[in-house]
Symmetry: C2
Subunit: 317 residues, 2 copies
């Protein structure tokens, strides 16, 4: 059992930079380790405290994440920063547990069809593997958070609608497997604001103050509207990536994760104190422009900047 | 007095294509009259029924709208289509009244500073001119809707915060001047969802079922989230432009009006029947790509398309 409230203090909003993992999943090229470190450092200087650092996969097969350990160490070297890594199985989790990451994300899909297509396992097999990862963590005597990311929680590009009840059952099964937290992912950008509001309200009632993550993609332009709905419903932990880096494996050319800087602007204008300097964050996009010259940098706020004549941080009510 | 409910039936959502006016306000070039007609025709085939056709300004000074009469006639030639034109003064309104447009938009700013900068008049002078336009309409024995667009209703790039009370006072003064409808414009994209929810809820209480327009810009990425908030609050008339055409005079390079196709997707996924074929509308972007090769076509849905495996039109709840 890990203490989730150290990494995610109660009633504080946490916005996690997932660009270094989810954002780099489908790019034509990837930044050097030095560029990744620089990205982390500059995000941190702007106020970001939560970083998905990469994925623990065989380095020879997935070279873009071969330096995940170095990125994890870079995050660990900063004060009060929380590193998160993806691990798809016990082998990856074993590697992750030998690094200073504070959190390991494991994945299961809310849709049986997608679970099979994604990791060639049944949901039951994935849940058993998640329980194994929790055991590994416990045996190692570590307090690393184990977080189950539930993919396709808002609809599936293979099987269509995913009922709320099915998502909530999967949430329960993940906790039964021993995880400390769960995340709900709109993997393919199918969600709408009312759907997000409804599922988050249910999560709030069901979890009674236990934190959970909302992981949104902007594939169909609903990303920020969905985040606003989740925020209104009480969700306090969000994934996003600088310049919206990332894509959708089922829609080539589509936009990716919700845009970090736009999301922070939303949170601030809605009255939340994120502690993040948006203009400094916008300037950090320059690293991506240099490191990933072939990628389209998304995001609207970066073109206009925050309002100059308005105290927008106070929440313009 | 005009009957607003013929153009805007009660409890129906109306999404107005403003690309042909607001969208073309700042473009480097503009489409030919034939291309504008084609744009209208293809929008109409997709289900759009409300069109802002242009602005009645001196044709020699503003050649991009020199063909506003022809575009108005093209809209009038389609069954059950509603044409809207901008007129900044009595001269423009006189011209507009000699065409078949069903609605004339007049403009006043919620901010005294912006009113002066925009039209070199005080708010009082603008309101007097609006009353003159209403008189012109009445004297002509026409039933053309006069709609007062209230600029900077969510904050002003010159004077900062615009209190809700000031907006509501301006709404009252516009109705006192004789207009049939008002619109609230987030001219520079300063609004946030909670602010929109609050102001729209107040409009609902204040107007008790009389229709009003929300005119949003996506300058800072909040456009669709703001539209979701307005829709939830009860607003049923929205402006948007195909591919988000349009800009912001105070933020060069910034994004413009909210994206028509993304807005329609939002409305449908939230459970409203717009009667519009989104895929046909997305295909219509091709006209803009040809007519305006130097413009960035915005919009996220166009890259991925609507979900293929989900009955998203039913509202994914």
């Amino acid at each position: 059992m890990a203490d989730v409230f150290t990494a995610y203090p109660r009633n504080r909003i946490a916005i996690r930079e997932v660009g270094l993992r989810d954002g780099l999943q489908l790019t034509a090229s990837w930044p050097s380790t030095e560029q990744k470190r620089d990205w982390v450092k500059r995000d941190y200087a702007a106020g970001i405290r939560h970083f998905e650092v990469g994925s623990f996969l065989p380095a020879d097969k997935v070279p873009r994440f071969a330096d995940v350990r170095e990125v994890a160490e870079a995050v660990d070297g900063l004060g009060n920063a929380h590193g998160i890594a993806l691990a798809l199985n016990q082998r990856g989790a074993t590697d992750a547990l030998s690094t200073p990451v504070g959190e390991i994300t494991v994945v299961v899909s809310a849709s049986q069809a997608h679970n099979a297509a994604n990791v060639r396992r049944t949901q039951e097999q994935s849940l058993a593997e998640i329980a194994n990862v929790v055991n590994l963590r416990d045996t190692a005597g570590k307090r690393t958070i184990i977080n189950a990311g539930i993919a396709m929680a808002f609809g599936c590009s293979l099987s269509g609608e995913v009922p709320e009840d099915a998502v909530m059952r999967m949430v329960d099964r993940c906790f039964e497997a021993g995880v400390d937290m769960v995340g709900l992912a709109d993997t393919v950008g199918y969600a709408g604001p009312r759907q997000v509001a409804s599922l988050c309200a249910r999560m709030e009632r069901h979890l009674g103050g236990q934190p959970y993550v909302i992981h949104l993609h902007d594939t169909r332009g609903m990303g920020i509207a969905n985040a606003a709905a989740a925020l209104d419903a009480g969700c306090r932990i969000f994934d996003a990536s600088l310049a919206g880096l990332g894509g959708c494996p089922f829609a080539p050319g589509a936009t990716g994760n919700i845009v970090l800087e736009d999301l922070i602007y939303l949170a601030e204008i809605q009255g939340f104190d994120t502690g993040i300097d948006i203009e400094q964050l916008i300037a950090t996009r320059q690293i991506l422009a240099e490191a990933l010259p072939d990628e389209t940098l998304c995001g609207t706020l970066a073109k206009a900047g925050p309002p100059q004549t308005l105290n927008w941080r106070a929440g313009a009510a």
